[in-house]
């Protein structure tokens, strides 16, 4: 965390000093979970926005809801925050049923919406004041908290200006302050960092982490920045077409993709090398990613699959199959394409999935290549990220 944040974050200690534990326990049949849904379903006419969603979020966790546009993330948040009612299924937030005890749920949560929802003609201060009044906080308390929060989100200078004069980042920060004003035990943030510059984005993440470490705050958020989710979430859930497709900690999801991937670039007897690769036990799968064929000095992109990353499993149709089968299918496909195109002197990229750690396999792999008439020009290591997990489970179609 940037050092300059340190001092301001101490402010948070005072804001969130009171003990959150116990707050959740007041729920009727207090479970372990801050958020719990089962079979949650919501349709808009023919569009099934959320279909039988089962979620469990532990108290104090940061849960990131990921998914392509139109996957149902916002609808899920709307259901959990009692903005809309479910067609079917159950949802409990802070131990309260969203349908039967919406008032209690609303008292326990703070929300920021995907779209900016601020009244443009009010000043920042007035807007926060009105928010506090809606929650029936005493005037003195509202004033105190405004001072503290505004310092936190660095809006002191503009606080008495109408919101319409704020920049996009200022508006986002004001919304965050508004969400925190009522000291919620569960915070819902729908794309909190969208449209923010890197500085602001980092600050917001730092605030959130700090808030969590001070009190027992549970956060559920959505984001399209997978690197952020990977870095900060305890658990991510990827949803697509209203269904949860996969859930787990970022590390475990990435690990489930298999081990590291080595990219070899080189030229030579491709057919022989591929045959040799197939024989090795320590190679799980491999794929010829692209070929650039040198002809009279001009270079042409090969006709096969995209270069980057281990996207062996790309389309939803293959999503269910194991990495290995999908990859070998890709191999078949590229083999036919390349057999026609390859000419002597062509440079080839091969992506190789290993069964063991990459560091120890580089040398044997290069040796294997050279023994089989394939001259290696470059070796690079690719570790899978949450991006790969995302594409594996949601495919790459354009949505909406």
């Amino acid at each position: 965390m940037p050092l300059f944040l340190e001092s301001r974050l101490i402010v948070l200690a005072t804001i969130f000093k009171q003990n959150r534990e116990g707050k959740l326990a007041q729920g009727q049949d207090a479970g372990v979970y801050a958020i719990e849904t089962s079979g949650l379903t919501k349709s808009f006419g023919k569009v099934k926005a959320v279909v039988g969603l089962d979620l469990k979020v532990e108290e104090g966790a940061l849960y990131a809801l990921l998914g392509p546009n139109g996957a149902g993330k916002t609808t899920t948040i709307n259901l959990l925050t009692t903005l809309i009612g479910p067609d079917k299924g159950m949802a409990k937030v802070a131990g309260y049923d969203v349908v039967k005890q919406p008032g209690m749920v609303r008292r326990s949560i703070g929300v920021t919406f995907q779209e900016v929802s601020l009244d443009r003609n009010l000043t920042g201060r007035s807007l926060l004041d009105i928010h506090g009044r809606l929650y029936q906080l005493p005037q003195k308390e509202i004033k105190k908290r405004i001072e503290q929060l505004v310092e936190l989100v660095e809006l002191q200078e503009v606080l008495d200006r109408p919101v319409k004069t704020y920049s996009g980042g200022m508006k986002r920060r004001l919304e965050l302050a508004r969400g925190l004003l009522t000291e919620p035990s569960i915070l819902f943030l729908d794309e909190p960092t969208v449209g923010l510059d890197p500085h602001n984005r980092e600050n917001i993440w730092a605030y959130l982490q700090e808030l969590r470490s001070r009190g027992n705050l549970t956060i559920m958020l959505t984001t399209h920045y997978l690197d952020e989710a990977e870095k900060l979430a305890d658990k991510v859930g990827i949803i697509d077409e209203g269904k949860l497709v996969v859930e787990g900690s970022p590390a475990s999801l990435i690990a489930s993709l298999g081990t590291d991937i080595i990219k070899l670039t080189g030229s030579g007897d491709l057919a022989r090398f591929k045959e040799a690769l197939r024989q090795q036990e320590w190679i799980a799968a491999f794929r010829v990613a692209s070929e650039r064929i040198k002809q009279d000095g001009s270079s042409i992109e090969g006709a096969s699959a995209p270069v980057s990353a281990p996207r062996g499993v790309e389309s939803p149709e293959t999503a269910g199959k194991s990495e290995e089968t999908a990859l070998s299918e890709a191999v078949e496909a590229t083999t036919t394409a390349s057999d026609m195109a390859v000419e002597p002197g062509g440079i080839t990229e091969i992506l190789i999935n290993l069964t063991s750690e990459a560091g120890r396999s580089v040398k044997p792999l290069v040796d294997l290549a050279e023994h089989n008439g394939f001259e290696v020009a470059d070796v690079s290591l690719q570790r899978p990220t949450l991006n790969e997990v995302f594409f594996k489970y949601t495919g790459r179609r354009l949505r909406d």
């Binding site: 919501k42 925050t81 009692t82 903005l83 809309i84 009612g85 479910p86 067609d87 079917k88 349908v99 005890q101 919406p102 008032g103 209690m104 609303r106 008292r107 949560i109 929300v111 919406f113 779209e115 900016v116 929802s117 601020l118 009244d119 443009r120 003609n121 009010l122 007035s126 009105i130 928010h131 009044r133 809606l134 929650y135 029936q136 109408p162 508004r178």
Partner: protein
């Protein structure tokens, strides 16, 4: 499930603290709308300028053209009650605009996830609309008294007339809320309002007496709440000879108010039901 949701739409408070939430919600929304009203002098000026211009120009210029009516009032005095009600109508429409704007710009969501009942959102908007209507009616009364010697500052008649404006405006606040809850956009809201606005003024006894109207128009005017409001205000403010009668006026206006609020409530809760909240 569907029926359960229907009954739940914006039912009476059940959970603990909901009555407090209702009052706090109404007050907070009212406060917010008043702050916005105060901080936009243009809105205040425009709504005040219209009625004053009516009294000043239309009143003064028409005075030479019109023969005295059976009400026994000068023309300027004759139109003052109508203009006052017109201001109430304009303010009611603005109240609806507030609700619509908050729906469109997403502020409504802030209220819907706050611990206040849905009903507070509607009642808060209605209350602020009503307040604006009454404030502006006061301004018209003052302007009327300044510009016209037949209208004297007297507390009781003024209060009575303001009550009439309040009751009349509440009816329209309800209707405006109904439109605002359903309207797809600002444009469609305003075109609806424009269609409603003019006949409400012209097909009434606000600018000409009932006795001078063709029979069909008089029939239509009798369906217009403005006619009853104008008659009541003339009686209360000037002690003029009734065209209809204070008793009937009051009954009709009260009925209109209840109907308007009811329609507003129905429309708002049907929208809330649609989102299943």
């Amino acid at each position: 499930m569907a029926t359960v949701l229907k009954n739940r739409a914006i039912a009476a408070p059940k959970e603990p603290g909901e009555w407090n939430g209702l009052l706090a919600g109404i007050y907070t929304l009212w406060l917010k709308h008043m702050r916005k009203f105060r901080s936009s002098p243009v809105e205040v000026l425009f709504t005040l300028a219209t009625p004053v211009l009516w009294i000043l120009f239309f009143g003064i210029c028409m005075t030479g053209m019109v023969v005295p009516t059976q009400t026994g009032l000068g023309y300027q005095a004759f139109i003052t009650p109508g203009v006052m009600l017109l201001t109430g109508l304009t303010a009611s429409i603005l109240g609806g605009t507030t609700l619509l704007l908050e729906r469109v710009n997403g502020t409504l969501k802030e209220y819907l996830v706050a611990p206040i009942p849905r009903l507070a959102v509607l009642l808060g908007s209605m209350t602020s609309g009503l307040t604006k209507a009454v404030l502006q009616a006061i301004a018209v009364l003052v302007a009327g008294a300044v510009l016209d010697s037949t209208l004297q500052f007297r507390i009781l008649p003024f209060l009575a007339a303001l009550t009439i404006v309040g009751v009349y405006s509440l009816g329209f606040v309800g209707l405006a809320s109904a439109f605002a809850s359903q309207a797809k956009s600002m444009e469609s809201y305003h075109s609806l309002i424009m269609v409603m606005n003019l006949p409400v003024l012209f097909i009434s006894n606000a600018l000409y007496p009932l006795e001078k109207m063709p029979v069909t128009i008089r029939g239509l005017a009798m369906l217009n709440p403005t006619t009853y409001g104008v008659d009541a205000c003339r009686i209360l403010l000037y002690g003029s000879k009734p065209e209809i009668g204070l008793g009937i006026d009051l009954v009709v206006l009260a009925a209109f108010m209840v109907l308007g609020i009811y329609i507003g409530y129905r429309s708002f809760s049907s929208v809330m039901q649609k989102i299943g909240a």
